[in-house]
Structures are given as C-alpha cells and as structure tokens.
Symmetry: C2
Subunit: 341 residues, 2 copies
DNA sequence: CCAAATTTGATGTACGTAAATCAAAAAATG
DNA sequence: CATTTTTTGATTTACGTACATCAAATTTGG
C-alpha cells in the first residue's frame, strides 16, 4: 500500500500536524524536526496524492490563453481547440479564459501580461511576439511564481517554463530536403511564400530551409521571399505574379498561412507546369490540394496537441510536478496524400 | 459551482442514498424514482468527480500488457516504455503487469487471455496475433466487461475497444510515395525486406506499398519479398545476396525489424551505388544510418505514445468515460535527417 | 529561574463520493 | 386487511489531504 501522511507521522515520530506543516511549508517547525520528517518522506517513498489534495483544497486551475487576433485558419483552429478544452473544464478542474490581443503588437501583449500579473492565475499560455518588452513581461510573471508556457511561437531567452510548439528550424530544413529530393537533380528556381519576416516562427522556418538548400541542393536557386501577410488575397497576387514572370520556377515553399490564395494561383497559372509544392498547416484547403496533387506535402503542427500539452504542463507546474518530456514534445507532422488523418 | 450528489438529491427530492443507488446502479430503486434522479442529473449537468470517487473507492487499475517475446529493438523499446509507465503507477493508481508469450503462437496467447478472464483485471492491452481463436478469446474478455486494447498490431473484426497503433496500410503507401518521389522518374528494381508475412502489420504495410507502387510508379519493379524474420543476421544475408546478384536494385523498403543487418549489408555492398532506402522504426541503428545517409527516411510509431495511450484508454473504459479521439490517434512519424527528435 | 516566544500535538471539519447499516415508509401479495 | 417484500431515508465511516484552532510542551531571552 502507498504510504500516507499518517505513515510519515508515525515513521518520523511526530504528529500529523507537523507533517502537514512540513509538506505545505508552513512555519513553526524546528530545523531538526523538519529534517526528520523529510527523511521519513524519502525513506517511505511518499508521494502526495494529488487527487486527494486537490479535493481537499477544492482546487481549480484558472488558466489564461493569450492569442493574436489573426484571421487565418490556423488561429481559428487553435481557438477552437481551446474552446474544446474549455468544454472539458469541469472534469479537469480548469477555468480557462481566452484573451485576444492585436497581432504583431508587442505593447498590447505586454499590457495584457501586466494585467495578468495582478490577477495571479494558475498559469498563462501565450503565442509570443518576439520583442524585448514581451520577454521581460514574461520574466516578471515567472518571477511572481506564475507558470508560463509559450504556444506555437517561442520566446527564447525568456524564463518561460515550456514551449508547446514545433521546432521551426527543423521544419524548414525538412521542407527543404523534401523539396530537394522530390525535384531529383533538377535545376531551377524556388519561390518562397511567407507571412511576415517579423514573426519568429516564419523567420526560423526560412532559416532552416535556406540552410539545407544551400548546403545540399545547390542546383536550386531561392528567389527572394514573398511576404503574403498570411492573407489569401495577397498570397494569390504574389504567386500569380511570380509564376507569370518567371518560367524557371519549379518549386514553391509556403511557410505561412494564406494557402487558399496560393492554391488558387497554382490552379490558374500552373495547370500545365509541373511544380513541386510544400506548404504548412493542414486545413480543409491544403488537404484538398494535397489530395488533388496541387500540393506535394504538408508540414503541420497539431493545434489540439499543443493546447492539451500546454494545459497539462501548466497544471503540473502549478503543482510543482514534473512532466513527461517525450509526451509534451510537439512533433512536426509530415502529410503526404497517403497518411492524412 | 459544480453540482454534487447533494444537489442532485435535493433537486430530485430524494435522499443521498437513493442518488448513490442510481449512480452506482445498485438495486432497490423504483423505475419512476430512478427517472427523477436521472432527470435531475441531466438538468443540473452533474458529472461525477472521478478523483473523489476513486479516492472513496481506493481504486487502483490492475492492467495487463501481453507482449510477444520477440528479441528486437522495437519490442525491447515497447517493454521499456511499459516499465516507465510502471514507475508512474503510484501517481496514476495503476498496477501494471507485463506478460510475455511466445511470438507467432496464437494458442499461447489464447491461453493467456483465458487466464486473464478469470483474474478480471481493469483492462488488457495486447499485441495481437491475427488468428480466429485469438479473436474469440478477445471477444470473450470484452463480453465479460473487461476493456481490451490492441497494441501495435490490431485484431480487426474483434470486439476490442480500441487500437493503439498506426495505420499500417497508410504507412506502406507513404513509404511507396516517398521512395517513388525520391527516385524521381528513375527505372529500376525495388527490394522489400519484411519480418514475416504471417504478421498482420507487415502484410498491411506491404499491401499499401505495393498498391501505390503499382498505381503511381510503374517504372519501379518490385522484387519478391525477402523474409528476414526480424533477425539482423538473416536480414544481412538476404540483402547482401540480393545486392550481389541484382545490379538493377535502386531502392529498398524495409518494413520490419532487424535493420541492423540491413544497414551492415548496405555499407558493405552499396558504398559505391546510390540506393534510396526507406525503413521502419527509429532505433539507435536506424538513426545513425539516417544521419550518415545510408537510409533516406524512417517511418516510426512512437512506442511511448502507444503505451500511454493504451493506459489512458483502458482507464477511461474501465470508468465508462469517453476518450479524446484525436489525442489517442497514433500518428505515423516520418523522420528525415532534419527532424529527428 | 521566570516569562515570553516558539514549536509541537491533538483534534475536528472539510472536500465529493462510496458503501454499509438499520429504520421507516410504501408497495405488492395473498 | 394483514403480511411480506420492496423501496426509500437517515446516518455513519472511510478515502487522503488541507487547514484551522487551542492546548501543551519545549526552547529561548533576559
């Protein structure tokens, strides 16, 4: 049988109240007594029954998710996954709130983080905008003892406890190798469609992509990046224009959102040409394009996993528990026509 | 505030004892009274606090994992993951036992399942051997009310509650497309190394592979399957022999275990040739081979995820709770050199 | 050494549910 | 209608922990 507080008290030769004081770091215990109890805890291998403790405390975990108010499929999906998690709140003792802040606006994000510092939730998950002010606002939260997880886009150099998202450099590298291998030894130009170079994850994808391309596929020449602002209309215009002007394009890497526009441009302009296309994020549009051959591979991050992982990690950190690292690693999904979920 | 049994009792105008009788389907409640209680439960949106219930019941979940006693990296890894889960038993209220049965021996598996039917554990996970007797033994367990999950290898047509493993047909199809695309339009022969055609997952991988190859890459000709019995020595011999005899081989699909032998053969015989190789299961050996370019892609199923998913599903089924399907879907991981974990 | 301060013990209640017991009420049976 | 059977209520204990209170013991300071 698993040891309880009673067993600890007996083993340490102290009362239940003292064990409680030690366990919950309440004052009024002499150093020697504290050590006796801690020894007993270690010897018996006691682990606090979190369920019973939460019951006694009537614990709920107020969690806040801060998202950019971006109007693209991926953010909509992320939002939907959080709402799905909210539907499970009762069973999971969570109380989740979604806060939207203007996209690409570090100051708005900082203000929100400062508001949160006062509310003292059990945890905060945020899609980070990469700016020094944001970093220090996050650090302040962490120093106040509030668990913080970055979601989808990381904030390296900050004190955030965890990042629930994919390795975007690896994603870019993978895209490059897939594209390079799919093109065999062909020689030609590669168009790159990004959302914005101001966003860290897009920059990182590009960085990884360019590195592998340069090193392993010198026959392929990268055109300068097209910034589609994750907007289907802009993406359509940029790609249609590029394809019209440049006959040498044999491959496209779309590393951001707004793929609806890309796909439309491909169907209009490249029906006769054989283009190899790698895109990010599995949506209804990219899925259809993968199936009909317009896109050759889709790299994806599972928003549902990211959200559930963020919640698990925040709860664990709030309780001072450890997490299963392998379980919380967000994997880069590679979808071909054949392994779609 | 979340409603409790007391609220239900008050709302239904009955006593706590009656609510308890209804909730735990104990006898001695008239039909009309039962309905009153059930209505109150629905109206108030009551959900039983599983943590509190488990506490009151001092519930533990005795779970049994039945594995084939196969001596290959994948099974060793699976075994290790289960032992890791056993280390978490205390916190998760599980009591996990591993039983090994001779591989490819349906009768041994059936005997074990019959033994288990008597022990009445909270759940059973098994790596299924595909045979009618196994199917009926599983069905009997299920009919006895014991949750059953197949692991890694499924048992279609049986009543098992869930399958924690990848879609092997999709895996084979994916391998075919990757290999076909990586080979560009080249013409040549493809060698296939399997463990045994008696195992369902290997048969399915081959089926998917052959289908896509025939339909989409007619320039590639599949040689007849080499059965390496998941044994590195046998695999080495078969591949070395095939490469020695046949100069037309330009690609290899290894859909089983025993890749250590394959890799050795490739290094000896094909240093000068340019072969494209797709293999299954990420191990120390295949990882090294991927990094040094001997293997071009690895398809993988994450044993840790499979084990944790099986446990979650078994616990949920034992409590009559629903699972999050998307969370329990085991994904096919595709690893290139660039996205290794 | 005495008073004050600190440390420890003893005890009770609470969290939400399970499970048991016994009494009381209601329904079914003859 | 009386009797048996079934249904319901009331109450208690338990699970493992948190937290509060008050008394008792011990240590510390002057």
């Amino acid at each position: 049988m698993r040891p309880t507080v009673h067993d600890i008290a007996a083993a340490a030769g102290v009362s239940l109240a003292t064990v409680d004081r030690v366990l919950n770091q309440r004052p009024g215990v002499r150093h020697v007594t504290r050590e006796k109890v801690e020894t007993a805890i270690r010897d018996l291998g006691y682990v606090r029954d979190v369920a019973a403790a939460n019951l006694a405390k009537s614990r709920v975990y107020p969690l806040t998710f801060i998202l950019p108010a971006s109007d693209n499929s991926f953010m909509h999906g992320l939002n939907a996954e959080i709402r799905t998690a909210i539907a499970r709140s009762v069973a999971e003792r969570t109380d989740i709130r979604i806060v939207e802040v203007p996209a690409f606006d570090p100051q708005a994000l900082v203000r929100e983080l400062e508001t949160l510092a006062a509310e003292k939730p059990s945890g905060v998950a945020l899609v980070a905008t990469d700016a020094p002010d944001v970093r220090s606002a996050v650090d302040r939260l962490v120093k106040d003892g509030i668990p913080v997880v970055t979601l989808v886009s990381d904030l390296t150099g900050s004190l955030r406890h965890h990042y629930a998202g994919v390795d975007n450099i690896a994603a870019g590298r993978t895209a490059a190798r897939l594209l390079g291998r799919f093109l065999g030894g062909a020689k030609g130009e590669i168009a790159i469609l990004a959302g914005s170079m101001l966003v860290r994850d897009h920059r990182e994808r590009l960085e990884g992509f360019a590195a592998v391309m340069a090193q392993e596929f010198p026959a392929l020449h990268l055109l300068s990046v097209l910034e589609g602002r994750d907007d289907p209309e802009v993406a359509h215009m940029l790609i249609a224009d590029a394809l019209g002007k440049n006959d040498g394009i044999i491959g496209i890497y779309s590393l951001g959102a707004g793929n609806r526009g890309l796909i439309r441009a491909l169907k209009e302009k490249a029906a006769d040409r054989s283009l190899t296309v790698i895109a990010h994020e599995l949506t209804a549009h990219t899925r259809a394009a993968l199936l009909d051959g317009t896109i050759d591979a889709i790299l994806n991050q599972d928003a549902g996993h990211e959200v559930r992982s963020a919640i698990r990690v925040l709860k664990a950190k709030a309780d001072g528990l450890s997490v299963i690292d392998a379980q919380e690693r967000i994997r880069l999904d590679i979808f071909l026509k054949d392994n779609l979920p």
